[in-house]
């Protein structure tokens, strides 16, 4: 099967998930992503390199589980940009690349001498996509972030909570994933634009901007209606008001910390649920209409939770879905990875071979393409694993030259 992005070369300085996650998807569709790492500090400008989780008792710079997950299918080279020779080699690499991608703090690329103006001077139609917490432009350009800080400032932490409680927020770096998605979209869109017009460009990605676009109706309710979300113990994100649905929440199930989510979209769902439950409270006149169920939502949730609490979360969800009612167990990682027919049939957890780790499972791609399907061909690169290939085959250096680069600490 052909690869959609074959022939595109990415000169990749990204790290962690917000950056590395973006170029991972390009590699899955066949782009040549060349990850550039610093030989002096063993690539630790990506703080995940060599970090847990580990597959077995071994530890080391090439054995980090999250790094492997975020960098599958990429090539890796080392390059010391403190040296003049290193800068020359980067210049040669940029000359033969379509994209330069990075998620350093603002100012780092300029200090290295490879800001957009310099990149454009090297290759006129280069696509340069930078991604940082607050973008390079604007008063917070130098502020430091990671996922939870981005989520806090962009409104996503606040909008994830239950009534009268403090924010629960996102229990992981949702905006590192999603910032990476936007960075990937920006790279692809800018490449298409270049294909159509011949023009490259710089895209200044800010993860907090991207995050702030993800609560749109709440923003408009404020700007158009003047109604803030800070009111009446809200937000209350397990319930739903846009559109109103009730019941719509997460209910206890049999066992320790087991839960089931149930959502009735309309009267048909409610009647189907009531028939499955078959207890007298479902006929309570207070629950006869959507308005009534919302007005008495606390009582409704208590009654439904009383029914679910003694039942198995998987069996109950299956039974409700069979009756047409949206329902799902709150799945643990092991449930959805090892015991979910939806993910196994999809091929969502492919095994890749990482040179030092051996076989290890990673996140797959949640789309299937009929003509240019994705493929994760190998694990993340070891530090400098593709130096011979890139410096030799791509840039045309011979073995002696590569050996002397290594001796001089350039690679």
């Amino acid at each position: 099967m052909p690869k959609a992005l074959a022939g595109y070369r990415i000169c990749d300085f990204t790290g962690q998930l917000a950056g590395a996650g973006a170029t991972r998807h390009l590699a899955a569709f066949g782009a040549e992503v060349i990850r550039i790492e610093d030989p002096v500090n063993e690539g630790r400008w990506d703080i995940l390199r060599g970090q847990p989780p580990y597959k077995d008792e071994r530890r080391g710079i090439n054995l980090g589980g999250s790094f492997n997950n975020h960098n599958v299918g990429k090539r890796g080279i080392t390059l010391n940009l403190r040296t003049e020779r290193g800068k020359e080699l980067l210049t040669e690499l940029v000359e033969v690349s379509d994209v330069v991608s990075e998620n350093f703090s603002a100012g780092v690329m300029d200090r290295l001498g490879f800001g957009y103006d310099q990149l454009r001077a090297i290759k006129q139609d280069i696509v340069y996509v930078s991604n940082s917490g607050f973008g390079k432009q604007g008063p917070y350009g130098t502020y430091k972030t990671w996922g939870p800080i981005v989520q806090a400032v962009s409104g996503l932490t606040w909008t994830s909570k239950l009534r009268d409680l403090e924010p629960a927020g996102w229990g992981y770096s949702y905006m590192d994933h999603t910032g990476g998605y936007y960075m990937c979209i920006a790279i692809l869109a800018a490449l298409h634009h270049r294909n159509m017009t011949g023009e490259g460009q710089w895209v200044d990605m800010s993860c907090t901007d991207a995050g702030a676009t993800l609560t749109g109706p709440a923003v408009l309710d404020y700007t158009a209606n003047g109604r803030p979300t800070r009111r009446d113990g809200l937000p209350d994100s397990n319930h739903n008001r846009w559109p109103p649905m009730a019941p719509h929440a997460v209910y206890p199930a049999e066992g320790e910390d087991n839960w089931i989510a149930i959502a009735c979209r309309d009267e048909q769902d409610w009647h189907a649920l009531a028939a499955e439950v078959g207890e007298p409270w479902t006929g309570d006149p207070r629950f006869a209409t959507l308005d009534g169920r919302i007005e008495h939502e606390a009582s409704l949730d208590e009654a439904l939770g009383g029914w679910t609490a003694s039942r198995d979360r998987f069996e109950t969800a299956e039974r409700l879905r069979a009756a047409g009612v949206p329902a799902s167990a709150v799945q643990r990682p092991g449930d959805r990875i090892d015991h979910d027919v939806n993910t196994s049939a999809w091929g969502l957890w492919p095994t890749v071979r990482q040179t030092d780790m051996g076989d290890v499972r990673v996140d797959g791609v949640p789309a299937h393409l009929s003509e240019t399907e994705w493929e994760l061909e190998h694990g993340a690169p070891n530090l400098g694993e593709h130096n011979e290939e890139v410096y030799g085959e791509l840039l045309g250096l011979d073995a002696d030259e590569i050996a002397s680069l290594r001796e001089e600490g350039v690679i």
């Binding site: 993800l214 047409g324 949640p366």
Partner: protein, 417 residues
């Protein structure tokens, strides 16, 4: 496609037909705000999402749904009855002239009407048809009912979100992120297929699963299990983890919550903190201030791992952490956020959406986007660009359409094509 000169978005010239309700219409917006000509096909009565709250001035009306507004900027609207042969014929012609079809109908719906990829590709072999469904068109449970809540419950995000107290249910992150994550993947794959076409390839069918998309958007939730068969546990306002971490959420003097982020570990960070506390006149009030001096006098960075065995290391780290919390509790949240970040401390104010849109940084980046609604005689501030394209700017090129507003215009274009 030709690309006229001028400041257009990067997708200028791309013709997109969108047949979406709440699951997929965000994908249409993402394309439209990047300059694509997105024609939204609505049933004669208008899209369902026009009936979604909130409404302008709380008056329910198909033209006043703010939910619909947000997700349908920059699009044109064509009203077609796809249960009539005339409507289907117009739809086929529309798609024949399009580059991309994005739809979120239930599996089988398009095929029943003779409008699926197999029916459409004959007249348009370059068509990129992207279907966004809860479990994927090809999945064994493709027909199961789902909403954003049940997708996030089954797909993994919810297991990681909630409170330290596990008698409280796990929490769905707000804002239909399960749908939006599927739309992000629709964009990544549509654009990938488009680049394949730019290089001489043909069209294709793309099957996006919301369930799969959430499953690969859980960070450690997944890889901790994939690599080490360990299960993360939810914690209030911070990463779900295999091991418990210390609280990071504190309420400031004005009641606004703060993510206290990373605490001082390096000597210069302790020094900066001391000077800030002195400026604020709070240094002498802080009982552990002598320990801050010790931290500032160290010749190395403090080490979290070492703190487990070394009481002094632990005491210094604790003194730094508690000093930051001491400050938050005595300051308004924004003053703390600004003061700390200006001094290089990674902290985050927990903004509500209404705070973000008023913040000076977002204003300076042009995030507030005025959109004129002429028939209402008003303009409204919408959220702005998720990315700042310097050469082909993102823009809301038109307000969300009225139902079927462009039916005559678009059908006339087909006649002249």
């Amino acid at each position: 496609m030709t690309a006229p000169a001028g400041p257009h978005g990067p997708m200028h010239g791309l013709r997109v037909v969108e047949l979406c309700e709440e699951i997929g219409e965000f994908a249409g917006k993402l394309l439209a705000d990047m300059g694509a000509d997105v024609v939204k096909v609505e049933p004669p009565g208008g899209s369902q999402t026009r009936s979604f709250a909130p409404f302008l001035d709380d008056e329910p009306h198909p033209d006043r749904s703010l939910f619909f507004w947000h997700y349908n900027t920059s699009k044109r609207s064509v009203a077609l009855d796809l249960d009539s042969e005339d409507g289907r014929e117009a739809f086929r012609r529309l798609v024949t002239g399009a580059d991309v079809l994005v739809e979120d109908r239930a599996p089988g719906w398009m095929a029943e009407r003779g409008l699926d990829y197999e029916d459409l590709r004959g007249d348009n072999p370059d068509l990129i048809h992207c279907a966004i469904t809860p479990f994927g068109r090809s999945g064994p449970r493709a027909d199961d009912p789902a909403t954003d809540l049940t997708i996030l419950a089954g797909g993994g995000p919810m297991w990681s979100c909630g409170y330290d107290d596990h008698s409280i249910p796990p929490v769905r992150g707000g804002g239909n992120q399960g749908y939006q994550t599927g739309c992000h993947w629709a964009l990544i794959t549509i654009l990938t297929a488009l680049l394949y076409r730019d290089g001489g390839g043909g069209g294709q069918f793309i099957d996006v699963s919301l369930h799969a998309a959430s499953n690969v958007t859980t960070e450690a939730g997944s890889y901790q299990w994939l690599v080490a068969q360990e299960t993360v546990q939810r914690q209030t306002g911070r990463h779900a983890g295999v091991r418990e971490s210390g609280p990071t959420q504190v309420q400031a003097k004005d009641g606004v919550w703060m993510n206290t982020g990373l605490f001082p570990r390096r000597p210069h960070e302790f020094r900066t903190l001391i000077e800030w506390m002195q400026e604020l006149g709070l240094y002498d009030e802080y009982e552990q201030s002598p320990l801050l001096e010790v931290g500032a006098g160290m010749d190395r960075m403090l080490d979290m791992a070492r703190a487990a065995e070394d009481d002094e290391e632990a005491a210094l780290l604790t003194a730094g952490r508690e000093a930051m919390i001491f400050l938050v509790e005595r300051m308004d949240a924004y003053d703390y956020f600004y003061g700390a970040q200006e001094r290089g401390f990674q902290v985050g104010i927990i903004y509500a959406p209404e705070d973000v849109i008023e913040d000076p940084h977002f204003i300076a980046r042009g995030f507030r986007t005025e959109v004129e609604h002429p028939e209402l005689g008003r303009s409204f501030v919408y959220p702005g660009a998720p990315y700042a394209f310097q050469g082909s700017p993102w823009a809301i090129t038109r307000r969300p359409p009225l139902p079927g507003e462009h039916t005559a215009e678009v059908l006339a274009e087909l006649d002249h094509a």
